[in-house]
Subunit: 492 residues, 2 copies
């Protein structure tokens, strides 16, 4: 077995690992980058880019639904050439992966090792059965993988995850998507718009990154209007069926208690047969095979090492964890920041410095798009806030574009008017999200935001309406102040 000594190891050559490698390399220290699986980032191979490619084709064909009100007539029909759609997705995906691989190729071969790493003691790891490495400092950037829940395991040959979908060469007739997080919503809706018969199965009222009950209701309304959306299926039973899976369930009667009770009265049993089941119920960090137990780290209840968000250090160990592997936020821009910070801190260990973390920010590229910024409604429960609201149903430009649905709530601190966060489902949410995320990180107040330019006619004017609503509430006395005034009056 080969024996190596190096100052730093980086395990995983995805977005976080590559950023960590570059940060260490530019410090002048020695570093080895270890990759066991396919090169190419989750983002480029199976995540952000291919899903946006599928969505772009789906949006193009969905545009036809607005033609009639615009005054545009289709004489004939529109055909989705599934093979061609998927061929473009793979071709462009390969091009994006190619950019990543070019970057990897520029790394000197002597700084790279192929194989799966596992720790065997503090300061020691082994790669497959061929190399033992003594190291001083390690960055764990092993990423994550889609989890296949237990109830789908017996049907594994008909279960696909996002990775598989982007290898399809034909669109299937029908799928059931389990999971209504960002991935489930994006893929489910895109496949539906491309002509696949899609059933969406959700649980516990989850819908993308939303937590505000009003926003979740609006999101449910939007998606239910477009495709079959099964909430909290009861008595769910799957069975093999010809070339697919039969799914049977009972629905809860609609109502607010939907997710908290068993069927109150007997409901009809639904039954569908689908070619494929898409598992989009969550991702799991790739940590199980790493031998982390040999390092003496403190672990959380999910089996992830405890770490500091702004240094990425695990306790006071010379070990750092970045990207999807730490299960904080599975987002490319965060993974890149985390990798860089982890790499810089590995290089300067034991002198650890907090790195710049950006304001929390998520987007689901479904339609209407969803975004959350800063603290969400759930984070803020119990705090003294005002909520500025706007509906896009009557928003001028949204109506012009026939995209007039959705809601935006902005949350501000009652005490000082500062923007604390926002949740939105509606048109151009990816762009309004950037304005909100910038304002949040700059710690602007609602009145300060209202001094900034809003053009006309733009969807951003909807944001302004919500800000004005918040501002008018901020200018009113708080219930506490009213009570104080009442007491003053009484005491006179």
């Amino acid at each position: 077995m080969r024996q190596l000594q190096v100052q730093n190891v980086v395990i995983g050559a995805g977005t976080a690992g590559l950023a960590a490698y570059r940060a260490i390399e530019s410090s002048g220290q020695s570093v080895l980058l270890i990759e066991g699986g396919q090169h190419g980032t989750t983002c480029a191979r199976v995540g952000c880019m291919p899903s946006k490619l599928l969505i772009a084709a789906a949006e193009a064909v969905h545009g036809v639904t607005r033609w009639d009100p615009f005054g545009i007539r289709l004489h004939g029909q529109v055909q989705v050439d599934g093979a061609a759609v998927l061929a473009r997705v793979r071709r462009e995906r390969d091009s994006f992966v190619g950019f990543v691989l070019e970057g990897v190729d520029r790394i000197p071969a002597c700084n790279r090792i192929t194989g799966y790493a596992r720790f065997i003691a503090p300061g020691q790891l082994q790669v497959d059965e061929h190399t033992r490495i003594e190291f001083e400092k390690a960055v764990i950037a092993t990423g994550s993988a889609q989890l296949i829940p237990d109830f789908l395991q017996p049907f594994r040959d008909r279960v696909v995850v996002n990775d598989d979908i982007f290898e399809w060469t034909q669109l299937p007739q029908s799928v059931a998507v389990f999971g209504t997080g960002v991935i489930g919503l994006e893929l489910g809706q895109a496949l539906h718009r491309l002509g696949v018969k899609v059933h969406l199965f959700g649980r516990g009222g989850r819908i993308g990154p939303l937590t505000d009950p009003a926003l979740k209701s609006e999101a449910e309304r939007c998606f239910e209007a477009e495709l079959p959306f099964v909430h909290d299926p009861q008595a769910l039973a799957l069975s093999s069926h010809a070339n697919g899976v039969r799914i049977q369930w009972q629905s809860l009667p609609p109502g607010p208690a939907r997710s908290n009770s068993t069927p109150a009265r007997s409901t009809p049993t639904h039954s569908i047969e689908v070619e494929w089941v898409v598992a989009a119920t969550g991702r799991h960090p790739n940590l199980d095979q790493l031998g982390l137990e040999t390092l003496g780290l403190d672990m959380n209840r999910h089996g992830v090492p405890q770490f500091q968000r702004d240094t990425l250090q695990c306790g006071s160990h010379p070990v750092f964890i970045a990207g999807d592997a730490n299960q904080e936020v599975p987002l490319l821009h965060e993974a890149a920041d985390e990798g860089r910070i982890a790499g810089e801190n590995a290089a300067r260990y034991p002198h650890i410095t907090p790195g710049l973390r950006r304001s929390p920010f998520s987007i689901a590229f479904c339609d209407p798009q969803i975004t959350t910024v800063g603290s969400n409604w759930h984070d803020l429960s119990g705090q003294q806030i005002v909520t500025g609201k706007v509906s896009f149903a009557d928003q001028g430009r949204s109506r012009v574009m026939l995209r007039h649905q959705g809601l935006l709530h902005v949350y501000a601190a009652r005490q000082n008017g500062r923007l604390l966060g926002a949740e939105m489902i509606g048109p151009e949410a990816e762009h309004l999200g950037h304005l909100l995320a910038w304002a949040h990180q700059l710690q602007l107040t609602i009145p300060q935001m209202l001094e900034l330019p809003f053009y006309h006619p733009v969807v951003e004017e909807g944001l302004r309406t919500a800000l004005r609503d918040a501002a008018s509430q901020l200018s009113q006395p708080t219930p506490a102040q009213v009570n104080t005034q009442r007491r003053s009056v009484q005491s006179v």
Copy 2:
């Protein structure tokens, strides 16, 4: 003739006039709002809203051009039902105008006068032949009208302006659009995409609000690829022809000197016949009939009173001028700000206070969209700046959406890295423009902007590329610094 006395008059009930009226009214002073023409703002009646409605329909049908590369097939054909398209434009336009008129209706009848106002002496004006008003303070908010240039006057019955287009009930076969400012580009391209045979005629290299030569070239390239674009027609001759106009011209040979010379060699004469000529060569403030000469104001060479941008006051007179009438920026959001500031200052005269003016910001809603923010390239000529550049030809998300063309230049002060301005033609420019305009008004530096969140994969990452380009130039020594270093070396 009726005689009235009032503290304030507001002439014109458009966006600026209504804002001025409301500001004065809420101060408690007496105010009369005088409107001679149709009620309803330029924006709602003939400007922003109807043009965006026409563009929305045009974009919907234009989407078909991206179908084939996406893998979507059209079996049959797409028909633009011109009557239906225009009916929706008018119906929605009427609805937006309706909102404005509801606002006007809420103004007490005793505070409104119908008729054309003209000043007859300082502190005195007359409305048509029916009312004389003595006033202390006046806000002029008479708006602007499309100018029909002299060479089109003989063909007035076949010349239309934007106002007329939105009254059409059928789309014509063919038009020639004279003028390639924002209105010419927006209307010309939208009509072309709706199936009208359009020729665009430009002069002097003008293209929307752009001033940066590289951006102007890119814009020309984009528009020339889509429709006939005639630059600086030579020996232009118009003549009546059946139910339209014949237009003949000679082209300049292509080259950099295009706009500065007469034809160097004989070029073929082009000839087209069009149903309508669209005049989009510029707007003119409605000041000619106001009797301004009786007020003793200082006028500029365009016949517009001199005024202060942040107070809207004309010299030290109790006269204020707001909105399109002052010919500064014909934009709704600016007109609303100006009207409010003018009204507040009229009310508090002689105690004048500067109002908040937002960062300069313009958008052309053509495709690709155009935006300029802050100081443009022309404003900055001769200053010590760095220019951060990005092409959208290879920008990830733009490519995903098949919208990968265009350029963005950001201009920053070499001395302190502050964002001074930007020009862009490219995808989602209306949204990137907002980020840039907010950053500009907040006086952020390029490094500060790079600390803010950029999601993935978004077009905003193209902005980040331009900012990184600027940042890398800012971190290099200036030519002056290099010279100093060279001198130091030589002196050793």
